[in-house]
Symmetry: C2
Amino acid sequence: MSNLVAPHGGGPLHPLLLPEYERVEEKKRAAKLKQVPMSSRELSDLLMLGMGAYTPLQGFMGEADWRGACADMTLASGLFWPIPITLSCSADLADEISEGDDVALCNGSGDIFGVLNVEEKYSIDKAFECHHVFHTDEDAHPGVQKVMAQGAVNLAGPVKVLDEDHYPETYKGLYLRPAETRALFESHGWSSVAAFQTRNPMHRSHEYLAKIAIEVCDGVMIHQTLGALKPGDIPAEVRVKAIDALVKNYFVEGSVIQAGYPIEMRYAGPREALLHALFRQNFGCSHQVVGRDHAGVGSYYGPFDAHHIFDTLEEGALKTLPLKIDITFFCEKCAGMATGKTCPHDESERLNISGTRLREMFANKEVVPPEFSRVEVLAILSEYYDGLD
Amino acid sequence: MSNLVAPHGGGPLHPLLLPEYERVEEKKRAAKLKQVPMSSRELSDLLMLGMGAYTPLQGFMGEADWRGACADMTLASGLFWPIPITLSCSADLADEISEGDDVALCNGSGDIFGVLNVEEKYSIDKAFECHHVFHTDEDAHPGVQKVMAQGAVNLAGPVKVLDEDHYPETYKGLYLRPAETRALFESHGWSSVAAFQTRNPMHRSHEYLAKIAIEVCDGVMIHQTLGALKPGDIPAEVRVKAIDALVKNYFVEGSVIQAGYPIEMRYAGPREALLHALFRQNFGCSHQVVGRDHAGVGSYYGPFDAHHIFDTLEEGALKTLPLKIDITFFCEKCAGMATGKTCPHDESERLNISGTRLREMFANKEVVPPEFSRVEVLAILSEYYDGLD
């Protein structure tokens, strides 16, 4: 029997991706169905449903689940769920669809990714959703923007996922489904595993954070968000190479696993930290590193809101526990790495380099101090930036 | 309601120290009772019973509890207890005592510390006890030695404690009973607290370990064993001053509490690690730092036996969880503090200074490297060693 944490809800993993041999036939059938275009967020949620990361959901949420997830983070079944997982379409398109219909779920280019059996059509109060999930309805918030841009009607019901996009191919060995990370953890003999979420190469502060996690768990999974990059982001293959160099030179062998997954950030801060812990439970992680302003954006959330929200949950709502870590940095006076919780010294003693400043340093060929990042990591980033010139 | 971990057994704390106003009368009465001398270990256990650290025990264990604690770490009541807490006397003295008698418990000088109501007299198989508790019956083991040196008969029953020895006076402000540490934790607003056991001044490796604990708990209690010193040990007042200097200069204010308590080590390795966690639960600690070869001696226990034994417990046996930490050190290649679990580098990169070597360095006025110990701590130790000349 596995010693890993059980999937959310206590049952088995429930991936909604059809077996490969059924996909061709089902895609042919789907091509004849009414086509419903998905936003990039909706597609990323479909892929998460496909790989089993949203176990035990069977598809996109109906109105009762949507309302419960928004209002008190609880589905109609009583199960904990902090953010609604929904699919929308325009009112015109919805008029052409009847409850009971199967519809094809497509990306912007019309490629089919899944089939939804429409059990329910309903319209929502978007401000209500934003108010609860994002604690704001300001249009400047990128998560609010996407909800406001949704179609007027939500379509709900069970889905079959037919395609995982380019991810398994592009990120071979890195793109790992929950059943696969669980098998890997077991082959390492791990029972407690901390997930560390990142979309950046890892500098010394990230190394330190991962090492705190290793102290209290059997190992750490460096879990990378794949998918659309923002301008200035390091491409995944460079990032993976940099993290490999760090792990090879500064971690004990067998204490780190790198993995990637296709989520699109909502920037819902505390609520998203809960969702991260929830799906990390499905990946088999007993702990989730929750940093300062985890999944936040701008100044919408207090720096520790994502820590505190875990204290408000009923016992057993989530099995995956937060590892609440403050901001990490090198401190001259500590003569080592430290966090806001363990270093009493003045800001002026601390080495902080913003992402913008770091890019500038590479552009100007300035020397990045080894207290900020390991030489092996810097060499790989240098090479990448040199190639951009 | 308190958010701290509940005392062992789930009931209230049960200190067996009589209220101050009852002690004079009871001591007068005890002076007329049969006098039973205690070993230093038995006295330390009586003091632990007095302060409530051994809640919910009511006194020294009878035969069924003794046997259960030895054989499967379970009292007759079903409660988890990893090491027997017993009182012995010679066969001759036992012959003069009847079940039902009250006897006075004295130290070697005849000072009265408590009264035992003898409910039971029984002789034990000492080799059986040693085999289970120490995993050896070799007389070279200091814990085995003390069991073998015990009287032939154990006296069991409820105790009243009448005196806490010199501790409250000598270690004013440091000597804290479980009810007091709990009140302190609550006044700090802590709900999770890690106990870090030490009888030494803290160097950087100990600082690092305490800081790992702070990362995952609200605060740390540096819990110092008071009582008899071994030759070469730093006196408690110097140790406290050195730890104060460390805490003041290198820890965030309000993240550390120093406390002391009167236990005598048994060197039972893994079983003693469990006992440490058990009574730390009574002190209000949610976590107990368990280092490499915790409470071990010589090479009787594997370096991680005290880690593994926690994995064999039934769920709920103890509420206080182990923080299992490997050996800690400064590593040149890591350019910082690390542990055996997070540093992959060669021994030759690591700075290890034994206690003996450190004393030698002070004696020869050699410079102790700041990677080993903070200058503020070294200044206090230097002053102490200079005073010895």
